[in-house]
């Protein structure tokens, strides 16, 4: 479903991604782990073109997305993204946060969009917060709204960039639970995370990134159980 070939990304002279090859199939949950600065966020941001790709190609459903002829906005409709800092729109209430994109971009009717929003809020357990404003919510609630907001575009794949890193420990679980439910519903997901428990439990595959390449990949039991490279062993010994 997603095919990434020879992905390079540089910021000026700094080469952050140095040749990434990766295939992600439908309904797969891929967890990306690795030390800080290894390029995990940059990798995710390239998949929905928040960063301009320096070299290499990314295909989604056979369409090359980093070419001049493709409409970036069309691609992004299909790729949802959840950020570490939530990035909810503070001047809109929860319902408006979720419905603005379906209404403006998918040209969905207001009633239909609201229905969809309530369904999604039900899923993330926040139906009663529809008219609350982001500043009235806790971090965990904000992140769950952010997930619902991304889901409202009915994307083919969801990207998560450390969705629980900005949360107080007691709120991590409620967000992970929502993500687990998404995975069970068959969503294709790429998750950058420091939550090794989540990666172990939910990941179909784990990618270990280091210095701009995928150093090691495999099933969770392979990567966590018998890591091959010494870098992976080093990293895991520090975080586990």
């Amino acid at each position: 479903m997603i095919k990434i070939q020879g992905l390079h990304k540089s910021f000026g002279k700094l080469e952050v991604l140095r040749g990434i090859n990766c295939n992600i199939s439908e309904k797969e949950v891929v967890c990306v782990i690795g030390p800080s600065g290894s390029g995990k966020s940059t990798f995710l941001r390239c998949i929905n073109l928040l960063e301009e790709v320096t070299a290499g190609s990314i295909y989604i459903d056979g369409v090359k997305i980093n070419s001049k002829d493709t409409d970036i906005n069309e691609i992004r409709k299909e790729v949802g993204m959840v950020f570490q800092q939530f990035n909810l729109f503070p001047h809109m209430n929860v319902l408006e946060n979720i419905t603005i994109a379906p209404k403006r971009i998918r040209k969905m009717h207001e009633i239909e969009a609201n229905d969809l929003a309530y369904q999604l809020l039900e899923k993330v357990g926040l139906r009663d917060k529809a008219s609350a404003y982001p500043e009235q919510l806790s971090g965990g609630q904000m992140q769950r709204v952010a997930i619902a907001r991304a889901m409202a575009m009915r994307p083919k794949v969801m990207l998560f960039d450390e969705p629980t890193s900005a949360l107080d420990p007691e709120m991590v679980k409620e967000v992970l639970d929502v993500m687990k439910q998404l995975a069970k519903d068959g969503m294709t997901m790429v998750v950058v995370t420091h939550e090794m428990g989540f990666a172990r439990e939910m990941g179909d595959r784990v990618l270990f990134m280091d210095e701009g390449i995928i150093m090691e990949e495999g099933t969770p039991s392979e990567v966590f159980g018998q890591p091959k490279s010494t870098r992976t062993q080093d990293f895991l010994s520090k975080v586990l």
Binding site: E74, M81, F83, F89, P90, N93, M153
Partner: protein
């Protein structure tokens, strides 16, 4: 002191009251037209100054540099005596010239305020909007600007008051504004205290009212994004922040 007060003749102001009322009206109209035009034009210039495209950025930048770098008085004379007659073959009257000059000048200052306001919104807001598939323009209109405008209220308010006072410069092209009324009375009676004190007090009154209004708007919008209860009183039907 008593002599001085006795000598004050406010009856001469009273005799010219219509001139002052008309002056107030012209001053307010010039300020309103200049300000609204200045905000709309300033919005385009401000966004232009954020553009990565050179032929948008540089015209916006040079425009702002010119209008902030030259005196408003010079701009008024240039527009009234040179630019408009050259384009239309004759003058279009003091109001058109005055309002145009005030608008063009105000736009330059507003452009900087609007640019800074937009830049002050966290990058994540634009990224979140774009990641939902919103084109740049839509994201600007529905996500960035509604937030940025709240932060722009205090500096834009200062601009309004500055513009109100600066509008007195149009007197040089014989606009019948508030200051001009004072000048006429001064000329008629050859007395200066009464007319100019009256003019000063009227300007002070206007700026006082404006300050109150701005403080109210600021208080209402800048603390929180949650609509206050007061708003419901004035809004008919459902108020939607998203539009």
């Amino acid at each position: 002191m008593i002599d001085f007060l006795d000598a004050i003749r406010f009856d001469m102001i009273w005799n010219y009251k219509e001139l002052f009322i008309r002056g107030l009206w012209i001053t307010l109209s010039l300020t309103a037209v200049g300000y609204v035009g200045g905000i709309i034009l300033g919005l385009f210039l401000g966004i232009g100054k954020l553009s990565k495209i050179k032929w948008i950025y540089y015209p916006a930048k040079y425009y702002v540099d010119f209008f902030r770098g030259t005196p408003l008085l010079v701009q008024i004379l240039l527009i009234h005596l040179a630019v408009i007659p050259s384009i239309f073959g004759h003058s279009l009257g003091y109001f058109v010239s005055g309002a145009t000059a005030l608008m063009l000048n105000c736009a330059a200052y507003n452009a900087e305020i609007i640019r800074a306001g937009i830049q002050s919104i966290e990058k994540g807001q634009m990224e979140a909007a774009r990641s939902l598939g919103m084109p740049q323009g839509e994201a600007m209109r529905f996500i960035i600007l509604p937030q940025a405008f709240r932060r722009m209220i205090p500096p834009l308010g200062n601009e309004l008051i500055a513009l109100l006072k600066d509008s007195s410069l149009v007197t040089v092209i014989a606009a019948n504004d508030l200051l001009y009324a004072g000048k006429v009375v001064a000329g008629a009676y050859a007395r200066f205290w009464e007319p100019y004190i009256t003019v000063a007090i009227l300007y002070l009154l206007l700026t006082w009212v404006f300050t109150k209004v701005i403080a109210y708007v600021e208080k209402r919008y800048s603390n929180s994004y949650i609509p206050s209860q007061r708003r419901r009183l004035f809004s008919f039907g459902r108020a939607s922040a998203g539009g």
